[in-house]
Amino acid sequence: MRIVLIKRSEHSRLMTGLSPVIAVMLTMLSAALLFAVAGHDAGLALYKFFIEPMTDLWSLQELLVKAVPLVLIACGLSVCYLSNNWNIGAEGQFVIGALAGSVLPVLFPAFDNGLTLPLMLLFGAAGGALYALVPALLKNRFNTNEILVSLMLVYVANLTLDYLVRGPWRDPAGFNFPETALFSASAMLPTVGDGRLSISLYIAIAIAILLSLLLARTLKGFEIRVLGESPRAGSFAGFSQKRMTVFAFMVSGGLAGLAGIMEVAGSLGQLQPTISPGYGFTAIIVAFLGRLNPLAIVVAGFVLALSYIGGESVQASMGISDKIASVVQGMLLFFVLACDTLILYRIKLQFGQTAKGGHAHV
């Protein structure tokens, strides 16, 4: 007996819209089961995991602090993935953006005025974009695999950061410990509310709206989609695939770099040997959870941030292991993919040897 997936001739619009919601529901259900099996009060754990973080202002702000970099990076990645360019190295572009943006406060601390912050953001975005240009140009010129190149460049970026904060950029008054001096007030993003949330929130939302308009309403957006779905059709329309690769990588690298410098100038206030808890990789999940649609990505980023904050909350108050939070994130991705698969395909149990008719994907 074999289980076979058979492509549906048409798929339900209703289910397409509902599937992320169903996936979240299924995740919560399995999480409850997991909590109960681990010997905890499942109801209380569910409440603390998924609801409580949204009930007070502090944790709501912390949720947004966590969501902003995810949303920004994922928005950029959506342009890449829609146009069939596989940038896996947003983590590295995030780090290089943070480095490029920090050049001013670290190396030129005397340049401390109203221009400091705007220039830092500009440098950050430019740094990320240029770094993403490397895999794009190599792909265009030598036909290298952009997945591998962009991924390997993550290590280069992390080690560069590591080298700089332990060596040349180390705080001279820091007893040789690996971090830069703290940034001055004019190198920090203004905050919103009473916590750590900064104006990066508004920047992220504005960019998500702009990108969704670009994708839905402009010729460029059409070009992105056509080249992604059918490169041949795109070339008949006169679109250049190589130019698109450069464009997509620079947009996503630029946004990742912007997210990087805003993380440093927002909540950290200095460079440290590690500045990202894997935002560049988590953002890949966010991009797909948001179905590569910038507005849906905003929601997806929030949901994923919730899974982090919620996981921390149950760990702190109920002693539930931090591994559970990782499992819940994994289940979320699994259910999203499973729901999507079942919209496009139906399951058929097959007895006997050969399959007749239909395209079988096992």
Partner: protein, 354 residues
């Protein structure tokens, strides 16, 4: 509907607050950089937490967060504990220094204890231990036990604590064998079993027959055991992982410190200070000396007793790698020089990453 929801939320919040208030006089909270199951750094801090919890028998409630990354997440984790009614919060990794100070400024009534840092505030104390004292003993044992005269040393990051450990190790070894060599591999991580194991293999292939580590997993010692060479445990007694290979281990004993500080918080006598204790105060403890002849164990015990009596391993003559004098004969380096050490002593065949 909305009101019902509000009432439910309020009820749960009240219930939680009520139970916490009845349970204990003080809540002590811990932030760990690694998993509590690393059998190294974070494991030992958690053992300290458990010892403290047991000591106060219900009077003190504890909570912890493990694997908290040293970045923007740290500040949130610390602030969460401050908001949830923790009276004293221990942040147990260097990278938590600035986040701890930021949160401390917002919560002046909460007491903070930061391990391995150097910045303090009215409600932020720091603590660390003189691990280099134990390293000197390891160096002596290594020089006695090695047939090839070469030890492999796995370093995490070239920060002063690790550099002073390497120097102290070689000073100890040189006191037995002036030509003793140390080969160093930096793995740029505190906890990465695969990388640590690879480093240990490379060092053994290069001729080291003693493995010493300043990283937190049991992997290097396990590799040493597989390859039939000797080694030292790190942070905890790792004898169970290498019964035939572990010579001894430097054990981080945080329990006494946690008990002392929590007691002070309960008594209202807590004040900010910088604690840096070693073998004498029992904050650094040597695991049993095993897998070595009696005369080597006797030498180790003798040195241990000498340090407990007040002797400092960083006592001159000490010559830096570049040939300049670090300390004249009989002169002892001051605490600041050891805590900020960024130079190698003469005899180390490695260039300090700058």
């Amino acid at each position: 509907m909305k009101n019902i929801l509000k009432a439910a939320v309020a009820a749960i919040a009240l219930a939680a607050a009520g139970s916490a208030a009845q349970a204990a006089d003080l809540k002590a909270c811990f932030i760990y950089v690694g998993p509590v199951g690393d059998f190294g750094w974070s494991y030992q801090h958690d053992q300290g937490r458990l010892a403290m919890e047991k000591h106060f028998a219900g009077k003190v409630e504890t909570a912890y967060l493990e694997s908290v990354p040293e970045g923007a997440d740290a500040e949130r984790a610390i602030e969460r504990f401050a908001r949830e009614g923790c009276g004293i919060i221990f942040t147990t990794s260097f990278g938590y220094m600035n986040p701890t100070l930021k949160v401390a400024a917002k919560y002046p009534d909460v007491k903070f204890e930061h391990a391995t840092g150097y910045k303090t505030a009215a409600n932020v104390a720091t603590y660390n231990s003189k691990f280099h004292e134990g390293r000197y003993i390891l160096g002596q044992i290594a020089a006695k036990m090695s047939t090839k005269g070469t030890a492999g040393y796995i370093g995490s990051f070239p920060i002063p604590e690790v550099v002073s450990g390497i120097n102290s190790f070689l000073l100890g070894a040189q006191s037995v064998n002036p030509d003793f060599k140390v080969k160093i591999v930096w793995v740029n991580s505190w906890f990465d079993p695969a990388k640590e194991a690879d480093a240990a293999k490379a060092l053994i292939d290069q001729g080291a027959d003693i493995i010493s580590q300043h990283t937190d997993s049991t992997a290097p010692l396990q590799v040493a055991a597989e390859r039939g060479v000797l080694g030292f445990g790190q942070a905890s007694d790792m004898i169970a992982f290498a019964p035939k290979s572990q010579l001894t281990s430097i054990i981080d004993e945080w329990g006494p410190y946690y008990i002392e500080r929590v007691q002070a918080a309960l008594d209202g006598t807590w004040e900010s200070k910088q604690t840096w204790h070693g073998l004498k105060e029992g904050h650094v403890v040597m695991a049993p000396y095993t897998n070595m002849p009696d005369d080597v164990a006797a030498l180790a015990k003798e040195t241990e007793a000498k340090i407990i009596a007040g002797w400092e391993p960083f006592t001159g003559p000490i010559t830096k790698q570049d040939g300049t004098e670090a300390a004249a004969d009989g002169v002892r380096l001051d605490d600041g020089a050891i805590l900020g050490m960024n130079w190698y002593i003469k005899g180390i065949d490695d260039k300090l990453p700058q």
